[in-house]
Symmetry: C2
């Protein structure tokens, strides 16, 4: 599981804390997601995708591990 949260965030010049607040999780959760430390729930993934106005698949990608 890979994701482009870091990139999307950089494009919009948004802070981890801002995104966290926008989607209703802690800043550490966003930080851990960017570091690919774990896989989010679909709900969180969809909230993040919605926030960036992109489909889930544009931000999250299945890897070999999965």
């Amino acid at each position: 599981m890979k994701n482009t949260i870091h990139v999307e965030r950089a494009i919009r010049r948004i802070t981890q804390a801002d995104l966290a607040a926008a989607v209703g999780v802690s800043r550490q959760t966003i930080n851990a997601l960017e570091a690919a430390k774990y896989v989010p729930s679909v709900v969180l993934a969809m909230k993040i995708a919605n926030y960036f106005e992109k489909p889930v698949e544009a931000i999250f990608e299945l890897g070999e591990e999965d």
Copy 2:
């Protein structure tokens, strides 16, 4: 969080056990998902969406609760 797994499965006349095997989870997990007993990980959601050859958003929908 709502989903149309039951419908997609009915269309393809696929069994819960078949889908479970195809995406690598237990049959009970599929059953519980159809009953909306819990929210899957994005990985599982994407595997299911891939299996049905549809985008995640076509199968999973955020609800008020989320």
